[in-house]
C-alpha cells in the first residue's frame, strides 16, 4: 500500500455508516381521506379529480369524476356541495370552489362531446329500474357499466325526475340535463317512458328481471288543513313546478303566497315572479335560521324581490283572495307558538310547499317490506325487506337531494351486482380523515376563492335564463389549484428536499417517493413539513 505521509487508512465514504440504526420512529407514507371526498354523498373522489384538473388535464379529471357520478354538469348546478362545507381550505381562507370546477368539467365534456366508457362484458343478468330520476339513472349507469342489461320504466313523459319536473330551468337548463341523461342511455340503457309501474312483483316477473331497483321519488304534495271557501285557489308546489314543463304555464295571478320554508317554496316563489307576479310572498312558521332552504337560495330569492314573512302561519282563506295569517313566537325550546295576533294578506293564489310524500302503491302486497313514516326501510346494502328489491333516493329514509339520490343509485348498483352473483359487496376500509391539523399550510399561497358570475337582476325576474354562470378555463384552473390535496401526496418534493440525511428517494413523476431506511434517522422533519399530511411517524418496532 502506497499511502501519503501520515495516512494509514484508505479514504472511505460515509455511505458505509448506516445511520438508520439510530431510528426510534419511522416515517410512513399514507393516504388520508380528504374531507371533501368523505362528505360527498355520491362518493366522488374530489381530491382525485381536482389533481388532474390542476394540471389542466380536464378529460382525465372528468373521467375520474364520472366513475362515481355520471352527471357533473347537473351536479355543478344543483348540488348543495357538502364537500365545500368540509373543505380544509375553509380554515385558511375559503373552501375550494369544488362545485364550480365540477360544473366547468361537466360543461366542457358537453362541448367536447366526451362519452362514457363502454360497459363491461355482458353478465346475462337483467335488472329493472323503476323511475328515471337521479337515483334510477345513477343505478342504471353503474349497473350497465358492470355489464348487466338494464331497463328503466318511467311514469313521466321524459327522464329526469325532480331534476326536470321540480328544479326550475333558471337553475338547471334543460339542454344540460338532456345531454347528460342521453349520455347515460347511450351506453345501452333501455328506457320506457309514460308507463307507471303499478305492481313491482308482476313487472319483475313479466320482464324476467333478476333484481329491481326502485327510485320513484316523493311526488305527492303534502296538504295542510286550511279552512277555505270553495272559490279559493289553493295549489301544491310540485304541481306548479311540474306544470312549468307543459305547454300551458300555470296561472297563479299577480299576488302569490307560498306556504312553506324548504327549497321547493323558494323555487316556486321565484318561478311565480318570473311568470309575472308582482308580489310573491313566502309565509313560514319559523325563523330564517330554522328554514330548511339553504341560505344562498333565500338570498337569491330576496334579491329577486321575493318577500318572506317569518314566524307566520296561515289560519284560513276567507272569501276568494284573503288569507288570515297568525304571528308566531318562539318558545324557550325554539318551537313556534301561536300568539293570537292576526293579519290579512291578499292573494290570488296560495301555493302549498309543505313537503312531499311517496306514492308507494306499486309496493302494495309485497311481503317483507318495512314502511315507516311513509318511506321504505332499506338495509345497509340498499335492499328492502323483500329479497331482490332494492330502493333509494327520496323514497327511502335520508336527506332528499339529487346528490344523495345519485349516491344511493351507485351504492345499490354495487350491492345488486354482488347479490346477483351470490356475493356481498363490502366497501373498502376507509382511510383516516385528513384534518386541518395534519396539514402544513405555510406552503400554500394565499388565493381568494373565485366567484361565479350572476345574471343581471332584470333578466332574473323576467326570464328563465340560467342565473348562475360558470367559470372559464382560466379561473377554473386557478380554482382547481387552490386545492390543498389533503392527505394525498401531490409530489411537491418537500420530503425529498427537507431530509438532512438524503434518506428520501425520488421515484420519478407519478411514482412518488420511498424512504431509504438505511439512512433515515427518524427525525420527522419530512412529516412535519409535508404540506398535505401524507406522512405519518410510527414507532419503530423492536
Amino acid at each position: 500500500m502506497d499511502k501519503p505521509f501520515a495516512i494509514t487508512l484508505d479514504v472511505g465514504t460515509s455511505l458505509a455508516n448506516k445511520t438508520g440504526s439510530w431510528r426510534t420512529t419511522r416515517p410512513v407514507y399514507v393516504d388520508r381521506l380528504p374531507p371533501c371526498n368523505d362528505a360527498c354523498p355520491a362518493g366522488e373522489n374530489v381530491q382525485g379529480w381536482l389533481f388532474h384538473a390542476e394540471a389542466g388535464d380536464y378529460e382525465a379529471a372528468w373521467r375520474l369524476l364520472v366513475r362515481d357520478n355520471p352527471m357533473p354538469a347537473v351536479m355543478g348546478r344543483v348540488c348543495y356541495h357538502p364537500c365545500e362545507g368540509a373543505c380544509n381550505r375553509g380554515t385558511i381562507d375559503a373552501a375550494v370552489g369544488i362545485n364550480s370546477v365540477e360544473r366547468f368539467l361537466g360543461d366542457l365534456a358537453i362541448r367536447r362531446g366526451w362519452r362514457l366508457d363502454a360497459p363491461a362484458e355482458s353478465t346475462g343478468k337483467r335488472v329493472l329500474v323503476v323511475g328515471a330520476g337521479p337515483s334510477g339513472l345513477s343505478a342504471a349507469y353503474h349497473l350497465r357499466r358492470a355489464g348487466h342489461a338494464v331497463k328503466i320504466v318511467e311514469a313521466g313523459p321524459a327522464a329526469g325526475g325532480m331534476m326536470r319536473f321540480g328544479i326550475p330551468k333558471y337553475r338547471l337548463p334543460r339542454d344540460v340535463l338532456d345531454t347528460e341523461i342521453r349520455r347515460i342511455l347511450d351506453i345501452g340503457v333501455e328506457i320506457e317512458l309514460n308507463r307507471k309501474v303499478t305492481d313491482v312483483r308482476a313487472e319483475r316477473e313479466a320482464g324476467g328481471f333478476d333484481a329491481a331497483f326502485l327510485a320513484v321519488g316523493a311526488h305527492i304534495g303534502k296538504r295542510a288543513y286550511i279552512p277555505a271557501g270553495a272559490a279559493a285557489r289553493i295549489v301544491d308546489a310540485v304541481s306548479v313546478l311540474r306544470g312549468m314543463e307543459g305547454e300551458e304555464k300555470p296561472m297563479l295571478g299577480r299576488r302569490v303566497v307560498v306556504y312553506g320554508g324548504g327549497n321547493t317554496a323558494i323555487d316556486v316563489a321565484r318561478t311565480a315572479k318570473r311568470l309575472g307576479a308582482t308580489e310573491a310572498i313566502i309565509v313560514y312558521r319559523r325563523t330564517r335560521e330554522k328554514m330548511p332552504a339553504h341560505d344562498f337560495e333565500v338570498e337569491e330569492a330576496l334579491q329577486e324581490g321575493v318577500l318572506i314573512k317569518w314566524l307566520s302561519t296561515i289560519k284560513n282563506v276567507a272569501g276568494e283572495a284573503t288569507l288570515t295569517v297568525e304571528k308566531m313566537a318562539l318558545d324557550d325550546k325554539g318551537y313556534p307558538q301561536p300568539t293570537g295576533e292576526f293579519e290579512t294578506l291578499e292573494a290570488d293564489s296560495l301555493v302549498l310547499a309543505l313537503g312531499q310524500d311517496v306514492d308507494l302503491s306499486l309496493l302494495d302486497g309485497v311481503p317483507g317490506l318495512v314502511i315507516r313514516d311513509g318511506v321504505v326501510e332499506v338495509g345497509p346494502n340498499m335492499m328492502t325487506g323483500h329479497p331482490g328489491i332494492f330502493a333509494g333516493g327520496d323514497m327511502v329514509p335520508s336527506e332528499r337531494t339529487v346528490t344523495v339520490a345519485v349516491g344511493h343509485g351507485k351504492q345499490a348498483a354495487r350491492h345488486i351486482d354482488a347479490w346477483l352473483s351470490g356475493g356481498e359487496w363490502r366497501p373498502p376500509a376507509r382511510h383516516e380523515i385528513a384534518k386541518a391539523e395534519n396539514l402544513n399550510p405555510w406552503y400554500y399561497a394565499d388565493a381568494p376563492k373565485t366567484v361565479r358570475p350572476m345574471l343581471d337582476a332584470l333578466r332574473r325576474t323576467s326570464t328563465f335564463d340560467e342565473v348562475q354562470g360558470g367559470l372559464d378555463e382560466g379561473n377554473a384552473l386557478f380554482e382547481a389549484r387552490r386545492c390543498l390535496s389533503c392527505g394525498n401526496c401531490f409530489e411537491c418534493d418537500n420530503c425529498y428536499g427537507v431530509c438532512p440525511d438524503n434518506a428520501v428517494i425520488k421515484l420519478g413523476e407519478g411514482r412518488r417517493y420511498r424512504f431509504n431506511l438505511d439512512y433515515c434517522k427518524g427525525c420527522g422533519i419530512c412529516a412535519s413539513e409535508c404540506p398535505c399530511g401524507a406522512i405519518r411517524m410510527e414507532p419503530e418496532r423492536n
Binding site: L9, D10, V11, G12, T13, S14, L15, A16, N17, K18, T19, W22, E54, A55, W442, Y443, Y444, A445, A447, F478, R481, R482, C483, L484, S485, F490, E491, C492, D493, N494, Y496, G497, V498, C499, P500, D501, N502, A503, K506, G508, E509, N516, D518, Y519, K521, G522, C523, G524, I525, A527, S528, E529, P531, M537
Partner: protein
Amino acid sequence: MEMQTVRFYQTGTFTVGNRLLAPHERSVQAEAQRANALTSGHRACQGCGEALGARYAIDAAMRATGGKIVAVNATGCLEVFSTPYPETSWQIPWIHSLFGNAAAVASGVAAAMRRKGTDDVRVIAQGGDGGTTDIGFGCLSGMFERNDDVLYLCYDNEAYMNTGVQRSSATPPAARTATTPAMGPEPGNVFGTGKNVPLIAVAHQIPYVATASVANLRDLEYKVTRAMEFRGARYVHIHVPCPLGWGSAPADTIKVARAAVESGLFPLFEAVNGEIVSSTKIRRRTPTADYLRLQKRFAHLFQPGGEARLAHIQAIAERNIVKFGLEGTGA
C-alpha cells in the same frame, strides 16, 4: 430584486418542487440529479439544521458553477460530523485546516486557482457561527477587505455546538447555553451583547452579502446562486436550528427556523456593494413567543418574571421589521 414572482401553482412556489412548474423553475433540491454534496451516513444529530443548510447551499453553488467548487471548512460540527477519518460525506473537493482560519485558507486557495489559471473553479469557505464571528473574525474581515474571490458561508446555530453549547457572539439574548446558564437575576445570555456579522460584512462594502434560512429554501438557493454571479468577497449567513443545543424537537427544525423568520427575529435581506437592496417579506406574521416556546433554551422566559425579557425580545423583532422593511407584499 430579481426574485421569481410567486405564481400560484397549488402551493405557490414555496414547496421544494412542484409537478406543475417547468423543470427549470423548480428548486435545486427538487432535482433527482442534485449534487447531494453532503451525502448520507454523516453523523449529525437527528434533525440537524446545519447538515440541511450545508447541503442546500453547496448544492445550489454546484448548480450555479456547473459543479466546479472547492470548499474550505472551519472546525465545528459540520466538519466533525461529516469527516470522521477515514470516511467523508463530501462529494466535492474539501479541505479542513483549523477552527479560526477558514477564510484565510480559502483566500489562499483562490490565489492558487488564479495563479494556475483555473479560476473557473470557485472557492467556498464555510464554518459555524463561532468559527466565523469569534475566532475566525480577523481572517474573515481580512478576506473581505482584500476582496478575495471567495464565498463565505456561515451556518449560524447561535453557539459553539460541537464542544457542548457554549455562548458565541451570535448567541441571542436570554438563550441558555453551557456558559450562560438560566440562573440568577438575568438568566441566559445577557441582553445588549453580541455582534451582527452580516451587517459588519455590509459595512466592508463587499460585492454581495445576504442572510438566509433553512426555512425558506427558494430564497436560500436564490441568494447562493446570486452570490456566484459576483467575483470578489461574498458572504451568506444562514440560520440553522440545532435541536440538541436549542432544546427543540428534531422534527421542528424547519418550523423553528420559520418562526424566527416570520417573527422578525431573523431578518432575510441582501446587500450589494454595501447597500441593502432587498428584504424577504414576512408572509404569515408570528409572535416571537411562538418561536421561543419551541425551544428549551428559552424555557425560563415563560416562568413567572420572564415577561419583561419576553417583551424586550418582541421589541427587537419589531425593530427589525421596521429597519429591514419586512412587512408588505414582496418586491
